[in-house]
């Protein structure tokens, strides 16, 4: 299988695997948003959906490990590619007008990514670690009604809400470039449909983070 190793260690192979993990994370983000948004409409619906996601063996033991791998891979490969790209220009320009030919978002994916990484640490501390401890460390009895209360409680603190809002602004910046970039990298670029991907990507990049911001502020104000 040396050809496979060769393919995925090439510049195009690395970018392709980055794009595949990105597309998977985009789908994950969409389902996460749909479930979270249900909390705005109905506490019972949110509890039911969360309980299903938290107890379904396929989600827990197949999809969750794939998600963890995709997250770690996307970040690690992001740093590896950034380091390689920096090394590809050992002497920097005295004057470099990056803004003259490329968007800020496209040139600063590593920084928006770092903010998202910081947010993930907070998010894991808030939700994922307590959830894993509840189920797999303390082995507490399943309680299908606890999720809504745990969610609302976290958004009582205005500082946490502010940090979530900031993180989602950076997520929007990351996705503004990242969405269409993933399709370009896998080669899905035809004049027939690429303008649609670009437009849809911009709407997705703004609407989903804006939706998450709305959810955080809604629970903060109504708690």
């Amino acid at each position: 299988m040396s050809w496979l190793k060769k393919t995925f260690s090439s510049s195009i192979g690395r970018k392709f695997s980055m794009a595949l993990s990105a597309l998977f994370l985009l789908l994950f983000l969409l389902q996460h948003f749909v479930i979270n948004f249900s909390s705005v409409i109905s506490a019972d619906a949110f509890n039911e959906l969360s309980h299903f996601m938290g107890t379904n063996p396929l989600i827990q033991f197949v999809m969750q490990p794939i998600l963890m791998f995709a997250v770690v891979y996307h970040f690690v490969m992001g740093f590896v590619l950034e380091a390689k790209n920096n090394a590809a220009r050992n002497v920097k320009y005295a004057m470099y007008k990056g803004g003259a030919n490329a968007s800020w978002m496209s040139r600063n994916m590593i920084y928006s990514g770092l903010v998202i990484l910081g947010f993930l640490a907070l998010h894991f501390y808030d939700f994922w670690i307590p959830e894993i401890a509840h189920k797999y460390v303390r082995f507490e009895e399943p309680d299908a009604t606890r999720y809504y209360g745990e969610l609302v409680e976290k958004f009582e603190n205005p500082m946490r809400v502010a940090l979530y809002v900031l993180a989602f602004v950076f997520l929007a910046l990351h996705l503004t470039h990242g969405f269409q970039s993933a399709f370009q990298t896998i080669g899905a670029r035809s004049p027939k449909y690429f303008p649609f991907i670009q437009k849809f990507g911009k709407i997705f990049a703004i609407a989903i983070p804006a939706g998450f911001i709305f959810i955080a502020i809604f629970h903060h104000l109504t708690a």
């Binding site: 050809w3 060769k6 393919t7 090439s10 510049s11 195009i12 192979g13 690395r14 970018k15 392709f16 590619l81 390689k84 790209n85 090394a87 590809a88 220009r89 050992n90 002497v91 920097k92 320009y93 005295a94 004057m95 470099y96 007008k97 990056g98 003259a100 030919n101 490329a102 968007s103 496209s106 040139r107 994916m109 470039h177 269409q180 970039s181 370009q184 990298t185 896998i186 080669g187 899905a188 670029r189 004049p191």
Partner: protein
């Protein structure tokens, strides 16, 4: 027009190099950028100083020899032109102009503003050709039916002059626009399809060996390319490479 020039001076590949200030007067807006440098060099020679070394050849915008990173942009502030076609009317009296060599680890500086772009030649040698016997019985290319859309796209890709502006302007020093143009010009035509798989595998392997960075789709290369080579070519190269990786016998 009176200008202040900040020009990268470097004696040889091992020298550290630095920006040196020069004042130049009497520059006409009708001069090309390279003619302005000719005037400066004449003045330097008259003063007994070493002239500034820079690459140039056809001065008609078609050979890809001239380079220069001017005020933070490859081939300067104008669009779809090489430095030889950039005119001084794009600048104002009293301007300070930074003139630097194309920078990339794969394009080492030879002297002053001259860089070694032979990495591009080695990528071309790895597969940027079709194998045709020139025995006198070569088939007339016009006898092979070719879809008009493909012929146009292949021609557009073939207009790449290999100047290296894509590498110079890319924040990652990626050569993917150049390589993708060379891959595309053959991949789209029946004559090039025969060796398409091995071509893309070999050219990408050589590109990686040369130490160019990875494409992050910023699109800066497409904007700065003097021939307007499209990012569509990079997407095509990605498709060609991935398909070849999984379907070629080697």
């Amino acid at each position: 027009m009176k200008l202040k020039l900040k020009i990268w001076r470097q004696k040889n590949a091992n020298d550290k190099g630095k920006l040196v200030d020069y004042d130049i007067d009497g520059v006409s807006g009708d001069m090309s950028f390279l003619e302005m440098l000719d005037v400066l060099n004449t003045q330097l020679i008259e003063k007994g100083e070493e002239p500034v070394a820079f690459d140039h050849d056809c001065r008609e915008g078609i050979c890809g020899t001239c380079s220069l990173f001017i005020n933070g942009e490859a081939h300067g502030p104008d669009r779809l032109v090489t430095t030889c076609q950039l005119h001084m009317r794009k600048f104002n009296d009293g301007d300070t102009i930074y003139i630097e060599p194309f920078r990339a680890k794969a394009f080492p500086v030879v002297k002053d503003l001259v860089v070694d772009r032979s990495a591009f030649d080695r990528i071309q040698h790895a597969g940027g050709y079709i194998s045709v016997n020139t025995s006198g019985n070569t088939q007339d290319a016009n006898a092979i039916p070719i879809n008009k859309e493909h012929a146009d796209k292949a021609f557009d890709a073939a207009t790449c002059i290999g100047c290296g502006a894509c590498v110079a302007t890319c924040k990652n020093s990626s050569a993917m626009l150049f390589v993708s143009a060379k891959v595309s010009q053959f991949a789209l035509l029946p004559q090039g399809k025969v060796e398409a798989k091995q071509r893309v595998l070999n050219m990408v392997e050589q590109m990686d060996k040369e130490g160019f960075g990875n494409c992050t789709n910023t699109g800066a290369c497409e904007v700065e390319c003097p021939k307007g080579i499209s990012l569509e070519n990079i997407a095509r190269m990605n498709r060609e490479y991935l398909a070849a990786s999984f379907t070629s016998n080697t």
